[in-house]
């Protein structure tokens, strides 16, 4: 066969070449239309912004006019008028909690009810007056994992929540500095002194990001037809909101919550869920909402630019939020917030150093390494602080019979548990296992929470006292083999359960085994898969187990973890600890007054400290690197407030 280039080959070549050229040309053509549409879109965007600015101005004028009107009509109360009630008396209806409605109403007549009123929220540190203040810029956070979805309430992971928190808002919120619970969308509220109902007035001129006013009906709808809609997969929140019996609309701006029974945490539950736009979500079928990945709309300072269900955000893409130009509150300076995800530690740090990210959560070794570099302070703020979301890790001791019906473990004796704590040098653990960046935990609530008892110091490291306490409890080395025995001659041996795959847990285990061996206790590690933990806790099938609790608020309801009711029914008192704590916990639940409740909390804290059902190991400090391109960066007891940041004029050159 000869390789000749014949006519047939030529025709073939021509054909292939022309197809290629046509394809390239059509792509070019496509690109040109694309550019045109981009141009149009950006023009529409700027027109929208101008419109928003105009609207804002109109609002300000409106407010001024209203203020003038008010001055003219002096003498007429312009007070908060919670609920716009006749004669200012809240007319409570039946609570459904078994208390006769008339009784409640009658009681109200005689009890002066405090109306709590809150001014419009302001930034804790207002940057607008700064000389280099400038609006615009992009702030990019790098997550450690991909959120599965960011649709409100359905996206349950911590990353999904971060995004939702910027787009959706709640009626009440914690003050970043004082950690007091204050009204956000709520302007004022009246809370039944007996705790059966709560009446809330929404602020005027609060809008969703599409400009529609937020009404009481949105609040009712969010609770009854979103969270409590059995067709939506909102079970997680639904099952913890069973305390709220119903939400009633009293007027355009006033809603009333009715509780099943009084509880100190009802207020936070009732005011802590997202208020969602009824008019927006009603367009979709439940299935569309269930399967939505980024159908997120609310009244927050940022919004998704595109809310078309066919073009919503989906995992794998960067989450891009744009400033809500119609935001009702103080508008943030940063124009765009982005959220990237990078699963690898090194990749995150590299991206941060390259300027692809404005904020990362460094690992402990990374933090120590970078902070020690001389030029690092110019590049980044290195923040490390305790806040209301700092969780704690601990070793839990089985105080009751193992497995619920087995033999009691040695830890049933309080002195043994104290000895276990005294025998562990937790400062050393924090130094060696967590690079010295965290703090030793003091109890079930830790500073800066007001619920933590300020007088309590963590137990010291004192192995001698530990040995003495063990001897007092009957554990002595009776046969000289180096292991402790009790009166019956049983040696002190226990199982230490930890999850597989964690480097930290492994180091903890090694240290604890060593320390136990040093005082004559045999500690047998048991390593299990994380997915088994739930079952082990439920069946109480462990002697000791290492675990951590995270925190989301300055104080959380201690019932779930500590009350003896949670021993029954496979609740979270999996250590089956029963030392009279119920008195305090019940009182905490009953006490609606914050200051009084804290006092009881402190007593409860002292009891836990004395009893040591857990050995509290460490509180995780938050660690963040934030780029020095941004200013007004402050860590708060509540966390971080990125809405206050701005990119100073000088640094936005590129």
């Amino acid at each position: 066969m000869q390789n000749k280039f014949g006519l047939k080959d030529f025709v073939l070549f021509l054909l292939v070449a022309s197809v290629g050229i046509i394809a390239a040309l059509s792509m070019r053509q496509n690109d040109r239309t694309w550019e045109k549409s981009e141009l149009i879109e950006s023009k529409i965007g700027s027109v929208e912004q101008q419109l928003a600015r105009l609207e804002n101005k109109v609002d300000t004028v409106d407010e001024q006019v209203a203020a003038l009107d008010a001055k003219i009509e002096e003498g007429v109360a312009v007070s908060s008028v919670v609920g716009g009630l006749p004669n200012g008396q809240p007319a409570a209806s039946n609570t459904g909690g078994g208390t006769p409605g008339a009784g409640v109403a009658n009681d109200l007549m005689s009890v002066p009810i405090e109306i709590k009123e809150f001014p419009r929220p302001k930034y804790a540190s207002d940057p607008t007056g700064n000389e280099d203040y400038h609006r615009g810029g992009v702030f990019t956070e790098i997550f450690e994992a991909q959120p599965d979805k960011v649709t409100p309430i359905l996206g349950e992971d911590v990353y999904g929540r971060r995004v939702q928190d910027l787009v959706c808002e709640t009626l009440g919120d914690y003050n970043p500095v004082t950690l007091e619970f204050e009204g956000h969308l709520a302007e004022s509220w009246v809370y039944d002194p007996k705790g059966y109902w709560l009446r809330v007035k929404l602020r005027d001129k609060i809008r969703f990001s599409d400009g529609v006013e937020i009404t009481a009906e949105d609040v009712r709808w969010s609770f009854h037809d979103y969270i409590n809609n059995p067709e939506l997969e909102t079970e997680s929140l639904r099952s913890i909101m069973i305390q709220i019996d119903r939400v009633e609309v009293l007027s355009d701006k006033v809603v009333e919550f009715h509780f099943v029974k009084p509880d100190a945490y009802n207020l936070q539950t009732a005011l802590g869920f997202y208020i969602l736009p009824k008019h927006f979500y009603e367009q979709f079928t439940p299935k569309q909402i269930n399967q939505a990945t980024g159908l997120t709309m609310g009244s927050g300072p940022y919004k998704f630019a595109d809310l078309d269900p066919d073009n919503q955000w989906s995992p794998g893409e960067t989450v891009v939020l744009v400033r809500n130009e119609q935001y009702w509150g103080q508008k943030p300076a940063i124009a765009e917030r982005r959220f990237l995800s990078m699963t690898d530690d090194t990749a995150r740090l590299t991206a941060f150093k390259n300027g692809e990210g404005s904020m990362i959560l460094p690992s402990s070794p990374q933090y120590v390494d970078m902070v020690s570099r001389p030029d690092w302070a110019e590049k980044a703020y290195s923040l490390k602080w305790l806040n209301m979301r700092s969780g704690y890790s601990f070793v839990a001791w089985q105080c009751g019979p193992r497995g619920g019906d087995g033999a009691p473990t040695p830890f049933a004796d309080k002195r043994v548990r104290q000895a276990m704590t005294l025998n562990l040098d937790r400062e050393l653990m924090v130094r060696d296992i967590w690079s010295g960046l965290d703090a030793v935990a003091v109890g079930p609530v830790n500073p800066p929470s007001p619920a933590a008892n300020p007088e309590i110091e963590p137990w010291p490291y004192d192995p001698e006292r530990a040995v003495a306490l063990l001897a007092e409890a009957g554990w002595i080395d009776r046969d000289g083999d180096g292991l402790l025995e009790n009166e019956r001659g049983d040696i002190f041996e226990f199982e230490f359960t930890r999850a597989s795959g964690g480097g930290t847990a492994e180091r903890m285990q090694k240290y604890i085994v060593d320390r136990c061996a040093a005082i004559g206790i045999r500690c047998v590690p048991k390593i299990v898969d994380w997915s088994l933990y739930n079952q082990i806790l439920k069946t109480r099938d462990f002697d000791s187990i290492v675990l951590g609790w995270s925190a989301t608020a300055p104080e959380s309801d201690p019932t779930q973890i500590w009350h003896t009711n949670s021993i029954k029914n496979q609740g979270h008192n999996f250590i089956q600890w029963d030392a009279g704590q119920d008195v305090f916990i019940d009182k905490i639940k009953e006490t609606l007054d914050d200051g009084e409740r804290m006092k009881v909390f402190h007593q409860f804290h002292s009891l836990v400290h004395e009893e040591q059902p857990y050995t509290f190991i460490r509180v995780a400090k938050w660690k963040r690197f934030i780029s020095k391109d941004f200013a007004n960066v402050h860590p708060y007891p509540k966390g971080l407030e990125q809405n206050e940041y701005y990119q100073p004029m000088l640094r936005t050159g590129n």
Binding site: E38, T285, A351, N354, N534
Partner: protein, 519 residues
């Protein structure tokens, strides 16, 4: 040949059954069981809240059924042949099923002699709608809307009734748990710590329990809610049978339909499995379709050259280098690549992670020089992003393939026909390219076919380091969280592609080598 292929294809069906059943049983028997990931790390919840949440999830995913029932139900959904009442497809394209049967409430004999029968509903008759002044098409639309709306109302009513039934059952279970603990009933809980109704049934009503009053009350409430729920279900069924939407699939005979398989909804991601795979598969395919040709284009010529100059410097050097690369761990290579090639402190040539720039959506497709200077466009941006992952995928693959090519070439060099060709004076180049190379390609082609299924599976390590949403990480998540639907779907997909690839390899053998036939 045709018969052979048909036989092989038919044999695949039982093989697929076997593979999926095995995987399913492995999840079911693993500690924690199916859906273990749903409950792990549920945070601080009091016991009644948690029990309620579990009850909702069990109802939604049928987790409280015996494992084998769950498997058969899954099979029914993925099978293209559907038995029973035909599904329908609503106006927004969602599949609507006839409401599934409700389970008998547990321990009902304690509270009622006989379970109530549901109310009988005739098949619903659609009320005529006002169509005055409407066009024909508009009439059809209005009718469809009215039907859909009516169905929605009834459907919502049923799901609310069912939710109340679940709540009341959870309440009863809570009381029973208290009684089990108080009476210390042996074997009252199964190995997952859940109430074991069979034990209680044998024991008879727990009238000796301190909370019997509350148990009885909860039980009676449950029966009442059950009654409401079965009525609501019957009503919904009657409306469903009146065909509010268009029918799904293709009916063969009444009770048998052929329609597209439904892979279900992932527990953990709460999204349809088919969407998840559609999202991830193209990414994994893209990476592998770039990587595999590179491996072939470098490894095969190197193998050939090594064979021609067998024992020479190039042979030794390339062999050593490829083996060295092959032994270099991928996680380390990935981290080093990011640290040195991506970091602006060093070279900074490549992006750190991901598949596209954050602004890629606003890029043009092709590179472009415009007012803002040169822009790289979507295509180049993607290629630039996949550089490092592809590099990591590629470097370990040279060794095997080049050695394979070299061995095949050497085999052929020693053949008689090569000696004959040399003897009759064919130029050396022609011997290598035209005779030896062509004959040595056969094992490489068949090798590619077997590599293909592995390409679909993705690489967990590389996906993790470069944050790429591929099939590897999806499968890994499905395994660790015991996600029934997701795991079975990926298993089935990979198994099916594997079986097909093996068949293709056999066919290619026969085509390439006339000595092989499958008669």
């Amino acid at each position: 040949m045709g018969v052979y292929i048909l036989r092989r294809l038919l044999l695949m069906i039982p093989t697929l059954f076997g593979i999926t059943l095995l995987v399913f049983l492995l999840i079911a028997w693993s500690p924690g069981g199916i859906g273990a990931g749903l409950q792990a790390g549920s945070g601080q919840m009091d016991s009644s809240s948690r029990a309620l949440k579990e009850a909702y999830l069990e109802d939604r995913y049928g987790l409280d059924d015996p494992a084998i029932v769950q498997y058969v139900r899954w099979l029914g959904r993925v099978s293209p042949f559907k038995f029973g009442i035909r599904d329908q497809v609503n106006n927004s394209g969602e599949r609507v099923r006839s409401p599934k049967a409700l389970k008998d409430p547990p321990l009902n004999a304690w509270f009622i002699d006989e379970l109530p029968e549901p109310k009988v509903f005739e098949t619903h008759v659609w009320a005529p709608i006002d169509t005055a002044g409407l066009e024909d098409e508009a009439i059809a639309d209005a009718e469809a809307d009215a039907k859909a709306q009516y169905f929605r109302v009834i459907e919502r009513g049923y799901s609310q009734a069912r939710s109340r039934l679940i709540t009341s059952r959870a309440k009863l279970t809570e009381e029973l748990e208290i009684a089990i603990e108080q009476l210390e009933i042996a074997n009252g809980r199964n190995r997952k710590g859940k109430v074991k109704y069979s034990t209680l049934e044998e024991r008879g009503p727990l009238t000796d329990a301190a909370n019997w009053d509350r148990i009885e009350e909860a039980g009676e409430t449950m029966i009442a809610k059950y009654h409401e729920a079965i009525d609501a279900r019957e009503e919904l069924k009657s409306v469903f049978l009146a065909k509010p939407f268009r029918q799904a699939g293709f009916g063969v005979v009444p009770g048998l339909t052929i329609s597209s398989p439904d892979l279900g909804v992932s527990f953990v991601k709460q999204r349809p499995v088919s969407t998840l795979i559609k999202e991830r598969l193209p990414i994994t395919l893209l990476l592998n379709l770039i990587a595999t040709p590179i491996i072939y284009f470098i490894a095969v010529p190197c193998g050939m050259l090594a064979a021609v100059k067998s024992g020479g410097l190039f042979d030794k050097l390339s062999g050593a280098m490829f083996i060295a690369l092959w032994s270099f761990p991928i996680p380390l290579a990935g981290v080093l690549a990011i640290g040195y090639l991506s970091s602006n402190d060093y070279l900074g040539w490549f992006p750190v992670s991901g598949m596209h720039d954050a602004d890629a959506d606003s890029f043009t497709f092709l590179p472009f020089t415009g007012a803002n200077g040169w822009e790289r466009g979507y295509v180049l941006d993607t290629l630039w992003h996949v550089c490092l992952p592809v590099m990591c995928l590629v470097y370990g693959g040279f060794a095997v393939l080049s050695k394979q090519a070299r061995a095949a070439m050497l085999d052929n060099f020693n053949m008689d026909y090569v000696r004959t060709a040399k003897a009759k004076g064919v130029p050396g180049r022609d011997i290598v390219m035209r005779h030896v190379f062509r004959n040595s390609l056969l094992p490489l082609i068949t090798m590619f076919v077997t590599i293909f299924p592995a390409m679909l599976a993705g690489s967990v390590v590389i996906e993790r380091i470069f944050t790429i949403n591929g099939m590897g990480s999806l499968t890994l998540e499905a395994i660790t969280l015991r996600d029934r639907e997701l795991l079975l779907a990926t298993t089935m997909m990979i198994a099916a592609v594997n079986l097909l690839a093996l068949l293709l390899a056999d066919i290619l053998y026969a085509m390439a080598d006339p000595r092989i036939s499958y008669k």
